[in-house]
Symmetry: C2
Subunit: 233 residues, 2 copies
């Protein structure tokens, strides 16, 4: 039976063996929700990078510049970290370079895996189908918040485990914990996610619509994959 | 309002500020359950150390030598890591030096806190009373398993948060996650704890009675505190 495990924050990724695995990177609020939304809305490719300066350099090569630090759009960038910006007509057919507090870092720290794909509630069902059809074992890499576990990514990990439970065996207690938290709250995901530290931090920014959209299950049927440093579908 | 936060594994302790806090160290299976049991049964003091050789050196000074690696008693030691060994007549009035895979390390890594105390389900209520009466904020430091979070320590963190919920505010999502896992399973703690990786690893050792005992709530009314490098009540 294939296995599925969970890393609750990039600060614990050293505890996991990435080799031979599909890594599903998730940053529900909001990087991977943006990536899924963009690639479902005809963005050509999204390049995750660690540093703001790398985004600026790519901007000179024609990429749209996207990113935030601490939930706030970086000045002079074309776009921030709201999924609605990734649905706009202006982004269709374009390439985007993105750097975010947590999501980009988790993608970069997943290097060494056989395959890196992007998960969010917005493409939950498609990710589940994808990993179930693959022959590889699965690691869900939660972006968390500055190195600490967060609630919304843990909920996503639990939701994906739930989708795969009949055909995969969980490995490690982080997977059990995530699954339990999801089972206890699956009928009120947005309600519990609103209690998360991240939602609390962002509550002053007037983006409740963003958060509600990010908690929508399986709105899109795309599975972004990292190929040669860029996310495509 | 005082705050209560959770560190799910010693590998994340760098994310927390220990200064001014009471740290509650927990390693349910089985180090802190042993420590609570011993000090409730007239052991004079228990000295946690990192290395096996340090225990041996203390053995020459008259300490009983206790410890395990990977769940197995260290050869030539007086005792391993079963709470029942810490109830025996031979230990009364004695000092014990102990080194375990996870628990001792978590105690050592809590250095810098205002106060370090020992928690387990066995003394849950007494620990709750103790931290509620204190003026300091609280950090629950889960020993986990070799740097990864584990289910049973997370359950304890959730249980202690539940006891303190009316008078303390949780900080950070690890506390929310732990609380949710506890709420979802509080009527069947031993049932869910048996599914943990640690219980699975130990299942070949014939110690189900140990695990069941460790999940017993508030059997003892002691709160071990670290004073000058030794745990006493």
């Amino acid at each position: 039976m294939k296995t599925i495990e969970v890393c609750l924050t990039p600060d614990l990724i050293h505890q996991h063996d990435l080799k031979g695995k599909i890594v599903v990177v998730v940053d529900v609020f909001r990087a991977t929700s943006c990536i899924v939304t963009g690639l479902a809305n005809e963005v050509e490719a999204i390049k995750p990078v660690g540093e703001v300066d790398e985004v600026k350099a790519l901007g000179k090569e024609g990429y749209l510049m996207a990113g935030e630090r601490g939930g706030i759009k970086i000045p002079e960038f074309d776009m921030g970290n709201s999924p609605f910006e990734y649905q706009a007509d202006q982004v269709k057919g374009k390439k985007i370079a993105i750097s975010t507090t947590n999501g980009s870092q988790a993608i970069i720290k997943s290097e060494g895996a056989d395959e890196i794909i992007i998960g969010a509630f917005l493409n939950l069902e498609s990710v589940a189908e994808y990993v179930l059809q693959s022959k590889s074992n699965v690691l869900i890499h939660c972006a968390g918040w500055k190195g600490t576990p967060n609630l919304e990514d843990t909920l996503f990990a639990g939701a994906l485990i739930d989708e795969c439970a009949e055909e995969m065996k969980t490995v490690g207690d982080s997977a059990l914990v995530a699954h339990q938290v999801y089972i206890a709250n699956h009928e009120n995901l947005f309600g519990i996610a609103k209690q998360s530290s991240h939602a609390e931090r962002l509550s002053g920014f007037g983006i409740e619509e963003d958060l509600e959209f990010c908690m929508t299950e399986s709105e899109y049927q795309v599975v972004p994959r990292l190929v040669a440093g860029e996310l495509i579908v």
